[in-house]
């Protein structure tokens, strides 16, 4: 915290309110090529926005299966983060529903979703800046009652730099290091489903590769991963499923390979 120029003193993202879901109307069928109704986690035809503001999502659907990696890509401001927040219950879903393992969780508060095993790394202010790296990780494991030292060792293994800086306040880390702490924190939860909002923003290529490696591993242990990525090409390469959001709507969906191959997607979102 002693360096005010790097600190974004948490809690600046005013949108993360405990709104805890909203008034629901029916979920009017789904579109898209997949059958998300069977998916493990699904935000089904969600429509909603911030506070009393206009709708930002329009019938937007994102879903992820057990053991799968689903990636959301799209231009800035498309509503990717908003979709993630909606799935996590941090803003009013005015229409549509969110289901986890077949159970409708639209009305649950974010805390309750955490208790249900959902883990989330927000795009901004995603670490406890005044706490040490190790305490950040411990807080990740807050809901766990078992011994989590094993998981912590794994995280340190994955991000060796964090082990080095374990007793340093997280706010004093470099941008990429913070990102690693944030992901590490989420991994500590041992979630049933992991949601990552741009986990690789600002991390170096080598760490990004490792991160993706690890994400693949995690996914292969059966934990579904839903993530937003701007490093879209790399992300789609490892994705089982990809969503392209444009202005709050599903523009394209398909497997990662399909999207990578789609010339229009390449041109508009992957930088040619």
């Amino acid at each position: 915290m002693s360096n005010p120029y790097q600190d974004d003193r948490g809690n600046t993202d005013r949108t993360i309110t405990r709104a805890g879901g909203g008034a629901l109307t029916a979920s009017p069928g789904t579109k898209g090529t997949m059958k998300p109704a069977e998916a493990f986690l699904i935000g089904d035809t969600m429509t909603g926005g911030y506070g009393a503001g206009p709708d930002i999502l329009h019938d937007c659907t994102v879903a992820v299966e057990r053991g799968e990696i689903a990636v959301i890509v799209g231009p800035n401001g498309a509503g990717k983060s908003t979709a993630m927040k909606a799935v996590f219950g941090m803003l009013d879903v005015r229409q549509g529903s969110v289901r986890l393992g077949g159970e409708d969780i639209t009305d649950l508060s974010p805390q309750d979703r955490v208790a249900k095993g959902m883990g989330f790394v927000p795009q901004t202010s995603n670490i406890f800046t005044s706490m040490t790296v190790e305490e950040n990780l411990e807080m990740g494991a807050f809901i766990r009652r078992d011994d989590f030292s094993g998981t912590m060792a794994q995280v340190y293994n994955l991000f060796p730099i964090l082990k080095e800086k374990r007793n340093q306040a997280a706010g004093e880390l470099s941008g990429g290091q913070r990102q690693q702490v944030a992901v590490g924190r989420a991994l500590m939860t041992q979630p049933k489903v992991l949601m990552l909002d741009e986990p690789t923003a600002g991390v170096s290529p080598i760490v990004m590769d490792e991160l993706f490696d690890r994400i693949i591993e995690v996914a292969r242990t059966g934990i579904p991963i839903l993530m937003v990525e701007q490093n879209a090409r790399q992300a789609l390469e490892i994705a089982d499923k990809g969503y392209v959001l444009v202005q709050g709507r599903n523009a394209f969906s398909g497997t990662g390979k399909e999207l990578l191959a789609d010339p229009e997607v390449r041109k508009s979102f992957l930088g040619g």
Binding site: Q6, P75, K80, I161, G175, G202, I206, D209, I216, K267
Partner: protein, 260 residues
């Protein structure tokens, strides 16, 4: 243009920048890469006057600028963006841009009371300029949105937009690309090239996206552990063993596990 001479920056016992020396040619677009925590942002902060160096010297066109406050450097034509977006959250995006130019006559209290005509004219020109920049960044529809309520990537764009509001000599960009859509990033790259060519801006760019670096940067400097590790064209750098080991890596190991 900028010469960094043996800069050290210590936080307690930790040497974030540990004797970095480099020079930036006028008119170049220099890429600065390096592993997380290499000290790139810290070096920026030292150059831009945000952090006082523990030792060492920075000169700009031969003039010693070590330790000058950021606002003085701004008026000397040295601009920077922040890795973590520093928008003025309760102001609209347009205002975020309009506040940038220095020496506006409306920033003198006396004029706000007695020179209102002049201010009004200036304001119109500024607003037009700001809208132009917003349009360029593809966020013209957000002109009247509070900057605190736009998406993460849009904030980064705004961050870049501010440097386009004035005539800068040298601009330090700290990871403009992180969180920005790749297609747009390409456009930004084009803009940087154009500013460089047409207005002769010098750029120093921190970025982790090698495609982007490759596209726009000529000399590339790689830092690691607070020191300059290597310098040269991107291809040279990419071939450097040390750089590969510390920074670039060798790609995914679990590629085989990727599904269909």
């Amino acid at each position: 243009m900028i010469v960094v001479d043996d800069i050290h920056k210590h936080f307690g016992g930790f040497h974030a920048v540990d004797g970095a020396s480099l020079s930036i040619e006028a008119g170049s677009i220099t890429g600065l890469i390096g592993p997380n925590g290499a000290g790139k942002t810290t070096l920026f902060n030292v150059i831009a006057g945000v952090l006082p160096p523990t030792s060492g010297r920075v000169t700009m066109d031969g003039e010693d600028i070590t330790g000058l406050p950021p606002h003085t450097l701004f008026h000397k034509g040295l601009l920077r963006t922040f890795q973590i977006a520093h928008e003025f959250s309760s102001m609209s995006c347009r205002e975020n841009l309009m506040m940038v130019p220095g020496s506006q006559s409306g920033e003198t209290l006396w004029n706000t009371w007695f020179g209102r005509r002049r201010i009004a004219d200036e304001e119109r020109a500024l607003a037009a300029k700001a809208d132009e920049v917003l349009e360029f960044l593809t966020i013209e529809h957000l002109a009247d949105h509070k900057a605190g309520q736009v998406s993460g990537g849009q904030k980064k764009l705004l961050e870049l937009g501010r440097t386009m509001m004035v005539d800068a000599k040298i601009v330090f960009l700290d990871e403009v690309g992180a969180g920005v859509n790749r297609t747009l990033l390409n456009t930004i790259g084009d803009a940087i090239l154009r500013l460089n060519a047409e207005r002769n801006y010098t750029f120093v760019v921190i970025e982790h996206d090698m495609d982007f670096i490759g596209k726009i940067c000529d000399p590339v400097i790689c830092m690691a552990e607070g020191k300059v590790l290597a310098q040269g064209t991107l291809d040279e750098i990419k071939a450097n063993e040390q750089v590969i080991e510390a920074y670039l890596g060798t790609g995914l190991k679990n590629k085989d596990k990727v599904g269909a």
